[in-house]
């Protein structure tokens, strides 16, 4: 523990180098812009900018990328409150009370509340990461192939059982991701599979292309349905409003704490930031004395989802760093980046790449502080970006997506694939097929398969290897519980004799 505090300070020293500080500021500004613009969400923005960081050292690169991440988290709140357009899926809950507040002329209060809550949530999660990550990492050294596979199993089952999308669509989406990830060279036998003789399929489907297509192009196509205009409330953020709101906020410390815990819990499990924000909003609505006013512009209705979403988004990095299992699509992209740089997430990362890990964690602290400052001072600027007519912004975004897709492998075929993924993403989003499991499966597919096959290799094909030790059985058991949760929950409610005669609540 003492050693880790020492490591943390060493990490701060790494971050405090001028180049890295510059990258931080650039990253946050880029991140907010990315979060504010449709089609360039957090995961997509990082995916596009990832190849550009290949020339930097991994530590500097991840500092910039994670700052883009924070920026995007902040940016999503701006569009939610001012324009009633959630910049990110997890900002949807913020629109419920944020936009009404803006309509009542309280945009400044709403924005301050949102940014400060995000800061608090993220900070809480970073502290949790600082304390818990090394513990989990050392614990993870006990993991053999069956244990590793069981963790992936748990992650994927959580998606199916705990997300609000229909389970069989989640299952189809996820398995499709595995299938797509399997295309190309098979690592263990050296054979080419599912390529059907096409040369371009040699490298398979890169997750970056999938992310840019699904989340980027797909999002733009979706936005096009609504036509080409953004009409929003203007916002000026002067210090008086900020200080006034800050005086108000400590009243809600209980709400904040509760939201932080919800967020951290959901972030660490692969559920992610979106369910965290909804859950937090729902619980706050039920518990708060002003719950019945939620939806008309209650400040609590902004604090709850924002705190939870940011806590979740940040704590999603915990399983990614210590176990190599990302808790969200954006964490999945960051994980992919780590793999490209040759860094292996997991326990070895903490022992062999101390500079990197603690530099990243230190940058999370500083990034949030810097982010809060930048965002509080620059809101009118960022809001102004959305006033640029869509007819100018849309093609520019398309160009950047295309550039992003191309620079991954210097391959124009990938740009074509991006458009295909874009159409697929549009159709899937509209028919309620979740995209996150698809992306996670493409990123993790190879590793999960490797764990599976190595386990079976050692056990001569005997599936009981997944129940062989206490650890692996526990995790597999949790996975099965998560998988069948809706049924278990429904049964439980029925057994307790629900108040209304309604049965399964889902």
């Amino acid at each position: 523990m003492i050693e880790d505090i020492g490591n943390l300070f060493h990490g701060f020293a790494v971050v405090a180098q001028p180049f890295n500080l510059l990258l931080m500021v650039v990253g946050i500004v880029l991140g907010v812009i990315v979060g504010v613009l449709p089609g360039l969400g957090g995961a997509n923005g990082i995916a596009i900018l990832l190849p550009l960081t290949f020339s930097m050292s991994p530590t500097s690169a991840i500092i910039m990328l994670s700052c883009i991440y924070w920026g995007a988290l902040f940016g999503g709140a701006i569009t939610s409150i001012l324009f009633n357009i959630p910049g990110e899926p997890w900002s949807v809950a913020t629109t419920f009370d944020g936009y009404p507040m803006a309509q009542k002329g309280q945009a400044g209060e709403a924005l301050t509340a949102a940014f400060t809550s995000s800061f608090v949530g993220a900070l809480f999660a970073v502290i949790v990461i600082t304390l818990v990550a090394p513990l989990v990492a050392s614990f993870a050294l006990e993991f053999g192939p069956p244990e590793i596979f069981s963790v992936y199993f748990l992650a994927f089952c959580s998606f199916i059982g705990l997300s609000k999308e229909p389970p069989f669509k989640t299952l189809a989406s996820m398995m499709l991701g595995f299938g797509l990830g399997a295309v190309g060279l098979d690592q263990m036998t050296g054979q080419l599979r599912l390529t059907f003789g096409a040369e371009q399929m040699l490298n398979g489907f890169d997750f970056l292309i999938a992310v840019i297509g699904l989340f980027g192009i797909g999002e733009i196509l979706l936005t096009m349905e609504e036509g080409l205009s953004f009409r929003g409330k203007s916002a000026k953020l002067n210090m008086r409003v900020v200080l006034h709101t800050w005086k108000e906020l400590p009243r809600y410390w209980m709400l904040s704490l509760r939201s932080c815990l919800i967020g951290c819990w959901m972030g660490i499990s692969p559920a992610g930031a979106t369910p965290a924000s909804f859950m937090s909003y729902g619980i706050a609505k039920r518990i708060s004395k002003r719950g019945h006013l939620f939806g008309t512009g209650e400040i609590e209705g902004v604090v709850a989802p924002e705190t939870a979403a940011h806590a979740a988004g940040t704590s999603a990095l915990l399983p990614m760093l210590s176990l190599g299992v990302p808790g969200s699509p954006t964490a999945a992209v960051l994980l992919g980046g780590l793999l490209i740089w040759g860094l292996q997430p997991g326990p070895l990362l903490f022992t062999e790449q101390k500079d990197f890990v603690w530099g990243l964690i230190a940058s999370m602290y500083m990034g949030n502080v810097v982010g809060l400052i930048i965002v509080l001072t620059c809101v009118p600027l960022f809001a102004a970006i959305l006033r640029i007519p869509f007819s100018v912004i849309a093609p520019v975004i398309l160009v950047f997506c295309a550039i992003g897709a191309y620079t991954v492998h210097n391959n124009t075929f990938d740009v074509v694939m991006m458009v295909v993924f874009g159409v697929a993403g549009y159709l899937m989003k509209k028919t309620d097929y979740p995209l996150a499991p698809l992306v996670l499966a493409i990123v993790l597919g190879d590793k999960a398969e490797e764990g599976f096959r190595q386990s079976l290799l050692a056990s001569q094909g005997n599936l009981s290897v997944f129940w062989s030790s206490g650890l692996v059985s526990t995790i597999m058991g949790l996975g099965l519980i998560a998988l069948f949760w809706p049924m278990i929950h429904g049964l439980w409610t029925r057994l307790r004799g629900g108040k209304k005669d309604m049965g399964v609540a889902g």
Partner: protein, 168 residues
């Protein structure tokens, strides 16, 4: 976002129809996956599962899930809910088609020229800007991008005959 469709009461392809279509398309992908897996073998070799083992079962699960999704969509009552109004679809296609052309053309004209045309087209067609503004931004953006990527980031992007003529 699709909720507003019902309020305005426009017509369009039915939601149910598209759901069925998506389920069928995914099922077709699954069948391709099964076929491809069989090609490399799905059984057990001396040193463990063969290359097609994992993709085969994965594709099988996709196929079964799609069958369930198909059945659920099929059996759901036709509630008249539209997938999207024709007007909305027209807007979507009006962005999709230029994008497809843009992407198809990149290998031949290079990315910068293609981007210039795309931006100019968008500004002119959708934004109804006059030619001067449209061309100014349409040409300005790629030039800016050129300096950002080629010179600063040292990341090469596809180039076409125009750039070759200029000596790049």
């Amino acid at each position: 976002m699709s909720e507003s469709v019902n309020e305005t009461g426009g017509t369009g392809p039915s939601h149910r129809g598209v759901e069925i279509g998506v389920a069928v398309s995914i099922a077709i992908l699954a069948i391709i996956g099964i076929y491809g897996s069989l090609q490399v073998g799905i059984g057990w070799a001396s040193d463990g599962p063969r290359a097609g083992f994992f993709p085969f079962y994965v594709s099988l699960i996709v196929l079964l899930s799609s069958a369930i999704n198909f059945t659920q969509a099929f059996l759901a009552p036709a509630d008249g809910r539209v997938f999207a109004e024709w007007g909305q679809l027209r807007q979507v296609v009006s962005v999709l088609v230029p994008t497809i052309i843009y992407v198809a053309v990149i290998p031949y004209t290079g990315m910068y020229v293609a981007s210039a045309v795309l931006i100019t087209f968008f500004m002119r067609w959708f934004g109804r800007y006059n030619w001067v503004s449209a061309v100014a931004v349409g040409v300005g953006m790629p030039i800016l991008t050129f300096f950002m990527f080629e010179v600063w980031f040292l990341v090469p992007l596809p180039k076409g005959p125009l750039e070759h003529m200029l000596g790049y």
